[in-house]
Symmetry: D2
Subunit: 403 residues, 4 copies
Amino acid sequence: MNTQARQSANTGLAFGYAQTRAYSFELIRGLSAEDCQLQSMPDASPLKWHLAHTTWFFETFVLGALPSPPDPVDPRYRVLFNSYYVGIGERHLRAERGLLSRPSLEEILHYRKQVDHQMQELLAHPAQLAPLTELVTLGLQHEQQHQELMLTDLKHHFSCNPLHPAWRDRAPEQPDERAATQPVTFRTFAGGLCDIGAPAGGFSYDNEGPRHRVWLEPFQLAERNVSNGDFLAFIADGGYQRPELWLSDGWDWVCQDHAACPLYWQHADQQWQLFTLAGLQPLNHAAPLCHVNLYEADAFARWSGGRLPTEAEWEHAAQNAPDLAGLFGQVWQWTNSAYLPYPGYQPASGAVGEYNGKFMINQMVLRGSSCATPAGHSRNSYRNFFPAAAQWQFSGIRLARDS
Amino acid sequence: MNTQARQSANTGLAFGYAQTRAYSFELIRGLSAEDCQLQSMPDASPLKWHLAHTTWFFETFVLGALPSPPDPVDPRYRVLFNSYYVGIGERHLRAERGLLSRPSLEEILHYRKQVDHQMQELLAHPAQLAPLTELVTLGLQHEQQHQELMLTDLKHHFSCNPLHPAWRDRAPEQPDERAATQPVTFRTFAGGLCDIGAPAGGFSYDNEGPRHRVWLEPFQLAERNVSNGDFLAFIADGGYQRPELWLSDGWDWVCQDHAACPLYWQHADQQWQLFTLAGLQPLNHAAPLCHVNLYEADAFARWSGGRLPTEAEWEHAAQNAPDLAGLFGQVWQWTNSAYLPYPGYQPASGAVGEYNGKFMINQMVLRGSSCATPAGHSRNSYRNFFPAAAQWQFSGIRLARDS
Amino acid sequence: MNTQARQSANTGLAFGYAQTRAYSFELIRGLSAEDCQLQSMPDASPLKWHLAHTTWFFETFVLGALPSPPDPVDPRYRVLFNSYYVGIGERHLRAERGLLSRPSLEEILHYRKQVDHQMQELLAHPAQLAPLTELVTLGLQHEQQHQELMLTDLKHHFSCNPLHPAWRDRAPEQPDERAATQPVTFRTFAGGLCDIGAPAGGFSYDNEGPRHRVWLEPFQLAERNVSNGDFLAFIADGGYQRPELWLSDGWDWVCQDHAACPLYWQHADQQWQLFTLAGLQPLNHAAPLCHVNLYEADAFARWSGGRLPTEAEWEHAAQNAPDLAGLFGQVWQWTNSAYLPYPGYQPASGAVGEYNGKFMINQMVLRGSSCATPAGHSRNSYRNFFPAAAQWQFSGIRLARDS
Amino acid sequence: MNTQARQSANTGLAFGYAQTRAYSFELIRGLSAEDCQLQSMPDASPLKWHLAHTTWFFETFVLGALPSPPDPVDPRYRVLFNSYYVGIGERHLRAERGLLSRPSLEEILHYRKQVDHQMQELLAHPAQLAPLTELVTLGLQHEQQHQELMLTDLKHHFSCNPLHPAWRDRAPEQPDERAATQPVTFRTFAGGLCDIGAPAGGFSYDNEGPRHRVWLEPFQLAERNVSNGDFLAFIADGGYQRPELWLSDGWDWVCQDHAACPLYWQHADQQWQLFTLAGLQPLNHAAPLCHVNLYEADAFARWSGGRLPTEAEWEHAAQNAPDLAGLFGQVWQWTNSAYLPYPGYQPASGAVGEYNGKFMINQMVLRGSSCATPAGHSRNSYRNFFPAAAQWQFSGIRLARDS
């Protein structure tokens, strides 16, 4: 890049930084410090922890990499707000994040401001910034990822309160009116030798690469995601009572959990209601089904005569048929691919290399993005991943079939 | 009582009400809403829950017993803030009290004010009040009991934060300078046919009666409570490594917990420190030992060649030798008596009968009171009770011996 | 004792030894080595383990105390068949006793023969025997205790097999025809200052002494034990669905266990059946109720308007009214007394002192004896003890009332 | 096939049946009924259960499919010995298989004889047999699979006995002397578009097909399996203490299990010993490493600078380089492929369709075969599968590298 181009890129980065950081703050608008303190299960962190951890990321990996790093805002935060980076040292216990009433939300917002100030300094000095632009970008993507988790976790926290608190009058997971109640139709793909994985240029996580060839047999992919109405038919047909429809681990989960419907569904007074970020709402039959785990997705697919797509099928289809409804912005779509390294995968060097690689076991891949994903955080090659039993993510179903 | 006496009693009750309720509020002075939200384990409730539940008690059992009870402040609180009274109906899950960010602390303080207002109305109307004075007194004793639990629970909540937050600069469990480092001496009691249990007149819980006869063999009781210094000698002598000193269940607890010292003790840099309500403090050898469970108390007693007293021995001694140091106001003293009904025990009628009786199994009795017990909440006949493994109460040891 | 008396006592001891040891062997008649291998839960040991452990007791505590002890039959048995005596050293894990297919049952029976041979030697030499007679007697009482446990545990082991195996055509817990279906009547006792605990002379465990005074208020004790028919009325009246009848821990147990009837009761084809040591049998309404835990006993008593007796009441009544039906030989009778030391209790010295004392916490006392108790193993002062939730013992209910 | 060919095939089947069934019996030679009763964990079944279940398979799926099926030997066995086929109905609890002392081993051997007799009848009648030959073959492969599990499970059962029982003087997992102590060398494969999956003709499980194309990047595969000596170097280099070498779930497993060496390794008197089917043996440095789970395999690979192969790489290499040492007959080799359906996979129809498909989640694939695999049960396309944490299988490591 020439000077002017770099100048412009830097300005863009500074602008992106400001915008992304502001959006995290926007997400807690209307919430109390008590709301931001909640931790309803070990997997779901308090919102204030997300706010602090994303800040810690910049302080540790970006500012900490400067030749003369500034003094840490509070040296004790290094342990408190480390999520899982063993390369950085000790960590506070994940399950006990909800027990940190100190530092207060106010102190954490102050921490954000101080780090923002230091970052703005850096963003204004091209020479210092140059070797760190990739890490700054990674930090922003990281914060966006946590922005989705903030909503995901808040929904779970609030769902434990019998008063059904609402985050907003109209929450992001409101029914998408474009989702039809018409029967699902399928698009056919010829397969063959295809390329998947992040292309050169543009940001991607290390787990999205390297781009590589895969062989695909012909297949079909549904034109839309499964709707609540579709899933009601599965329930009505005894879907949760028929072991032959389920994977063995899935059936064990149904029995242990006494599962009879997706997470956040409630049946009362002979009608279905959904707990949403806007409180309790009547079930919209046309809206995309959300909050099913892989077991439910797989059982539904078997019942419907189809199957889940592989992640390669999904990505290939997204490249060739971006007009398929609901690929992005509705629900993460479970695939039947395990989250494992691509051929030739190399984790990023240093502690940030722990970001993705060490989780490549016992998880399944989800593709697309959800109504809770921040704008600009969706990519064809994006690999989201969760254990097969996880329901609290904004996860749904897109069917596939052999051609 | 004649009119004037009753008038005076009522004024006393109104004054006691105001004072007791104000002290609960005083306890959270300096704490944030986030602090009051914490729940570190199922047995320890959030402070805001204590504030609401004690209010619920008056609203449900006193105001609710009026011929025309006022509308509930919020009908949903009936379930949310019921602790365990099955006679009242459904209850929110104990382990999930920490997940109620709504109602906020502010709303709960508002709830307190509204109920206080209704109660003041009642306290000013002798005719309405007359049949309810016993329940009002019970409600105040109940609130005092929760005042101690607020400090007990807060200490546990804060102990989970690696920043070691302090509640006050000088906390109630500060070392009692009167506790000596001199060897323990014993007072001898002749025993015989004695009376224990609450005498007529004055308030007592139903579990303190009826007053009844017991036969006591001659015994000796220590002139003071066991000190930190005494217990250090037990540790130094391998107390936590010698199974022959422990009850079988106690030794299982030691092994599973990897127990090597009382709760809140930390050994760092070759010295012992205590986590207290005033933060981390150096261990005071002269101060009364606190936060041991019955297993530790029993093992210490066996090691020292003594034993724990029975609750009848303790109460008899307290009646005859009130000058024994530290009977009240230091630490609850474990007895080797199980918490079981006295001969002829009858639980109070109605839902308040659930207060004590249904817990009479799998618990051991503690006597006296602690540094965290509110003034006026101590009695010779008071029976505190906790499971043998409980450490988070302000519990210590007074030795006994056969005479 | 003069020489002749001692001679006679020794002959009696030798005779008792032979008889007691033979009865253990008689108990496994008709059982396979596979049957004797079963361990259905950590609390219930394999029958072959009982056979070995009781032998280990003589080898370790009696033969091992000789000036020149014989070589151990197999030195590895010292660890394998130690139950809980930490004074003896390491122990095999209780929960893994069922994983010892080696030594085989045959080898264990051989072990018994060898130790019996060595013991017979000893029993024939009065001079050597003299200092050990108390330990021999203790060993025989110990073996009798395990004889009851063999039947208790076998019943539980077999109950896990859907084929309902039978131990005998007619098992010891067959209905006692004397148990009436007439309403329970009560005998009145005046109480006062009474003596309880093992009197001088005759064998007793250390936990039965010292004999001591207790003050008893007037009370009533039922003339018979609760029958199956009595308990059916409790069930029919919704006994298992009414929390107000239960201790708090008891109600938690009901909910977690989905308890709806005593252990070994099955409801099929609109009739109740009992799993017994003679296989599945129709429920006999007149027979004494068996296999309830303390929670069930306490809830039944509350429902019936009575209560459980204390152990002092039971023992006093047994001394004064030995004609009360079913005090011995039917079911162990739950008392509402915790298993704690008597005033002045001293455990026996040495490792056998671990026999009783270290279990004096978190257990409740049962009195009397059951249909599975060997002849000669019943005493007024006998203190059996189990945790409040234990159902697999031959435990039932005798009601008491305030007079 | 013409008549003569079919005749000959049938004779082969009858011969194979006799031989396979006899080998199961051979495996328990020298074991007692008590040995065959053991169940050391829910995942490991008693040997007598394996003997009965493999017989149940023939009785249910082969004889039960006859137009006039014979009476079942014992109708209660239908439930008792069903493993997981929900299509067949109820099943006895897996974790309680070890509690079935009845039927006895002798009765189960009798059951085997009766079913063998009925099967021999069938095998002698070509017309009846014709539609069932595939199911008979499946039953024999099924029995072979259980033969390996019998040794695998027995090893675990015996490992829980501190007496270290031996199954044979010289057990199948004895060190393979061909395994070198020389540094590992690698063979290079060019990759490209390859075919994997079971070819037409010959038996294979449904999960091995359909045969299909995959694209492989160039890769290298080790000439031999990792040896005990190789793994000692990993241990000596702190392998079990360095979180950066482990997957996140793997490190959690290390911490919870306090893992410091492979299963069955013991360090005593400054030397390593192995528990084997021939009892406790000194560790042979040249022998192939066995009994590691995927976490250990993955950490070792990362430490060594390599990685685990994918199952497609392994199968491709086995087709092209069958001379690689130890592909079969030493240890199952962990791959980094999740156990998921191949493109176009269809489970077999009927209840036998539950054999493989419903386990396709949360498991990783192992390839090759082990020292415990029966002769004739190895194939290039064979897909063995276990959860990542499983250690008790005969599982080891073959390294791969990017080329």
